[in-house]
Structures are given as C-alpha cells and as structure tokens.
C-alpha cells in the first residue's frame, strides 16, 4: 500500500512550554479509514496540524506523499491533505455558499471553468446546490457542517481529516455524518477521523490509533482496540457499550468473538441460543 503520511520521531512543544507530542511514529496509508482516538488534551489536534504543515515538528519529521513538511508551505501541503476543523464558524465569511466552496479553489489557482465545474459537482453531491446563492449563515448547523466538508472536498485533496465532527450532534446528524464519510471513501479519499466519540467509531473504520498525553498508546483494528481495556484506560477512555456488555457478561470470552455493533452482538447471541436447541 502506498504511504500517504509518514510521521517519524516527532516531538512538539507549544510556546507556553506544554509538551504536546512525544516521539510520535505513525504511517498512514492511501485509502485507509483511520481513527485517531483520544480524550481532550491527548495531542490529537496537535498531530493533525502537522499533516498539512500548520505546525512543524521540532524533532523528527513528517512526510506527506514523500514531501518533508518543513520544506513546503501550508498551502502546498493543504492541496494534498485537507483538514475540516470542528467549528464551521471558524471558516465561513462569504456572502454566498457558492463563494465559500470556491474560496479554496481560488486560492489554489484553479481556472474559472474548473471552479464552476468543481463547485457545482460538490454542491450537488452534498445536496447543497439549491442553497448556492444563500448566505452560509442561514444554514442549519447540520447543513453548515456539510458545507464545511464540501468546501474541502471541492479541491480534491487525497487525504481528508475530520477534526471532532460529532461534537454536539444528535443521532440523526451523526448518521448523516457516517454517510458523508462513506461518500468520501467512495471518492477514494483517505479519511482520518479525529475524535473521542467511542460509540461513533464502532463501525466503518479500518484502524484505530489511540493517543494519550502526547504519545500513541495503542494501534490496531477496531475489534482489538475497543476490547482492550488496558489501552482505553490509559487513554482516559471508556469501552463502548456493546463491547462492554459483551466483556462483562463473559460472552466475548466464551465465544471468542468481539461484536462491536448491536447487530453483531444480536447475531452472536441468537446463534448461541439456536445452537442450544
């Protein structure tokens, strides 16, 4: 698999003296659906800011598609790695939704035709085309989030990082978010989700990297990580509900299975009950 982002022995300390990253080593592959999991203050946001050069490592290096981030500008790196930040209000400033999506494209020097084509395409993809002439501030919070993702997807970065997109969202909005993530993977994007929402990541992702206090304390498939109480405790996190009841009821031990969703657990329990008959 092709390496998208390479992080080697990275250390970063904020000007105030807070050591945010300690010797981080991480490989992110093209096409992955990766989760960076950790509680507040673990260093997740600091890490992803290294992916597009917003922060440069003080020790070690970060390579994005082979390019050392210390040798490239944020604008250059952002073309490859798009970050959708948590609060849409930190980015909206245009009069129209259309301009908002076109902003990045203009900055990157796309032609008028290319801009028209891409903005139209991405607005349609996210069901926002009818709002093209409206003000971004008239949108509902769910629509704003959609717009934020759309405006990054518009310029087609290979990697899209979503920084805590589930905060404050209700169930329906989270389901929609899952759909958008699926949409992104269908577009062959590498998706990196940064979150502390352990329930949200129980399905749809290939790999979980767990961070705590600036280091990576665990890495692996969801079935491994979400059942690993030791790692989760180290990261000040809790087991998601389904793995928790599967573990506490000894079910996962007896059957040596690791259900993550309700349906997986249901299937397991029903097969056990049928086996009894």
């Amino acid at each position: 698999m092709e390496l998208a982002i390479e992080v080697r022995n990275v250390w970063y300390t904020y000007p105030g003296g807070v050591v945010a990253l300690r010797n981080i080593n991480l490989d992110i592959y093209l096409g992955e659906k990766l989760v960076i999991l950790g509680s507040n203050g673990a260093g997740k946001s600091t890490l992803i800011k290294h992916f597009n050069g917003l922060l440069k490592p003080q020790k070690g290096y970060v390579k994005v598609f082979g390019v050392d981030t210390r040798k490239a500008s944020v604008a250059e790196l952002s073309r490859k790695v798009g970050i959708v930040f948590q609060n849409p209000y930190h980015q909206f400033f245009s009069e129209r939704v259309w301009d908002e999506v076109a902003f990045a494209l203009k900055n990157f020097g796309y032609s008028e035709d290319a801009i028209n084509y891409r903005v139209t395409k991405v607005l349609r993809l996210f069901d926002l085309y009818d709002y093209a002439d409206r003000s971004p501030f008239e949108l509902s919070s769910g629509e704003m989030r959609r717009l934020a993702i759309a405006s990054i997807l518009a310029y087609d970065p290979d990697v899209i990082v979503l920084d805590e997109p589930t905060v404050g969202q209700d169930k329906i909005q989270k389901e929609k978010l899952r759909e958008y993530i699926k949409l992104l993977t269908l577009q062959n994007k590498t998706v990196i989700l940064v979150t502390h929402d352990i329930e949200f990541i129980t399905e749809g992702f290939d790999r979980i990297v767990v961070m705590a206090k600036g280091t990576i304390v665990g890495e692996g498939k969801p079935k491994e990580i979400l059942y690993d109480e030791e790692i989760l405790v180290k990261a000040n996190l809790m087991m998601p509900q389904i793995p928790r009841i599967a573990t506490c009821s000894k079910l996962s031990k007896i059957r040596d299975e690791r259900p993550l969703t309700e349906n997986e657990l249901l299937f397991l329990v029903l097969s056990m009950l049928r086996g009894r008959k």
Binding site: P15, K49, N52, L54, H90, F92, F93, F103, A104, F137
Partner: protein, 263 residues
C-alpha cells in the same frame, strides 16, 4: 508581536500574590500613579527621571512581583527600542552620527518608558475586578465599570478564536505573506469576518449567562472583598508624595546648584 501580546496579557490578568502593593486600595494607587506620571510630562530634567526610575524600581523589588513586572515590560521594551531607532534615524538623516539627536531621542523614549512603567506597576498590582468596584464606588454605574472586566476577560478568548480561524483559512490555501499591499489587506477579511461574527454571536450567550446570575438586578451591588483605604495605604502614598516633592524641590532650588558646586 506575540511577545508583546503575552506581556500585555500578563499585565492585566489576575494573580493572587501576597505583595504589599496588591493589597493597597486602587484609589490610593491611582493617586500615586498620577503623582508619578504627571511630573514626567512637566519635567525635562534627566536627573528627575533617574530619581523616578529609582522610585519605581524600589517599589517593584520590594512591594510587588518583580518577575511579572519584568515580563510585562519585556515586550514593550523591544517595541521601544524599535521606536528609538526610527526616531533617531528620522531626525539624524542624512547625518547618521549625531550625539545630540541620540541623546534627545533617548530622552523621549525614556520618558515614554517611565510612563509605561508606572502604568504597568499599577495594573499588575491591581485586579481589574477591584478597579471596577472602585469606579462603582465613584458613582459610575456598575454595568459600565464591568465592561472593563469583560474586555480583559475576553481578550484571550478572542485571541484563541483568531488563531483557530487563521489555521482553518490557511488550510484552505490562504497565504497572507503573498501579494502586494492591497491584496494582503483583502486577505485579512477571511480572518476578520469570522472573528467578528463569532464575537457578535457570543454576545447573546454571555448576556444570557449574565442575566441568569442576576446581573443588574440590585441597585446596591455588593462585593466579596469590600475595598477600604487603610492607614498603611495612606502612609505609603504620603511617603511617595514626599519623595517626589523632595526631588522636585531639590532639583529646582539653589540647593541643586550648591550641591553641583561641590563637584
């Protein structure tokens, strides 16, 4: 620039310290501030500035938190050095080596420094909350006095927002370093507009919180620590005033020329 912001922040933020000046009533400190600042404007005598500096430094070392004050002054000093160079070059050009102008420029900058120093001493040893209380006691309506507190309180919040906005926009290709002067000014918009909008939206939330804590409900607002002028405060102020008066008289009467006659 960042260092300057941090210095200023440290000057206004509240820190609980057991230093003499921190416990002196703000009204007394303000009178002392005036007594120190006004002569700076009126006098052009370098010796006077020396004595004033001694006064400020002594207070800093023995009556307040020297480290914090030094930190607050650090940022300004860098700026002042820059100003000094500008003033000197501007006035000395094309003759770049002029002792007279160097001295004159230094005097101007030093006066300004002394002014900033006295204000810094005042603000680092005075909690803004107390200042608001003092204004209220001087019959200014509390909701006006309180805006002082709110302003200081939200500076770091707004600064944090701006950093996050800047990060988000840079990630969309915004490059502030590039372009001519007009383009660069236009590029500030994607940072200013979100900052304004967030602040405006914030107003409602803060207002709700204020209302829910009964803000503005009582005609007579009380304070957890009721400020009162103590005897020590008065002694302190009187000593300072005597010192300043003494220098002034000393430098302006025959006594000065008499002492100078010894040399």
């Amino acid at each position: 620039m960042k260092g300057l912001m941090e210095s200023i922040y440290e000057m206004f933020i509240f820190r609980k310290e057991d230093k003499f000046l921190n416990n002196v009533d703000p009204r007394v400190k303000f009178v002392v501030l005036l007594a120190t600042a006004v002569p700076i404007f009126l006098s052009f005598n370098p010796l006077f500035y020396v004595f004033l500096t001694i006064l400020l430094v002594l207070q800093t070392l023995f009556l307040a938190n020297a480290r914090r004050i030094a930190f607050s002054l650090k940022g300004i000093v860098k700026l002042l050095i820059m100003f000094y160079v500008i003033i000197y070059v501007f006035n000395a050009y094309p003759n770049l080596l002029n002792i007279e102008i160097a001295a004159m420029a230094f005097m101007s900058i030093f006066r300004f420094f002394l002014l900033v120093y006295s204000f810094t001493l005042f603000f680092t040893t005075t909690c803004i909350d107390d200042l608001a209380q003092v204004l209220y006691k001087l019959k200014i309506p509390y909701h006006i006095a309180y805006t002082l507190v709110l302003s200081v309180r939200f500076v770091p919040t707004v600064a944090k927002d701006i950093v996050q906005i800047y990060d988000a926009q840079r990630s969309r290709g915004l490059e502030l370093e590039k372009g001519n002067i007009f383009e660069r000014i236009r590029k500030i918009l994607p940072i200013l507009i979100p900052a304004f909008i967030i602040s405006i939206l914030r107003v409602d939330f803060v207002a709700e919180a204020l209302e829910s804590r009964a803000f503005g409900s009582s005609y007579k607002r009380t304070f957890m620590v009721d400020l009162r002028i103590k005897l020590v405060d008065i002694i302190y102020a009187v000593l300072i005033l005597i010192y300043i008066l003494a220098i002034y008289l000393f430098l302006n009467t025959k006594a000065y020329s008499f002492v100078l006659g010894w040399f």
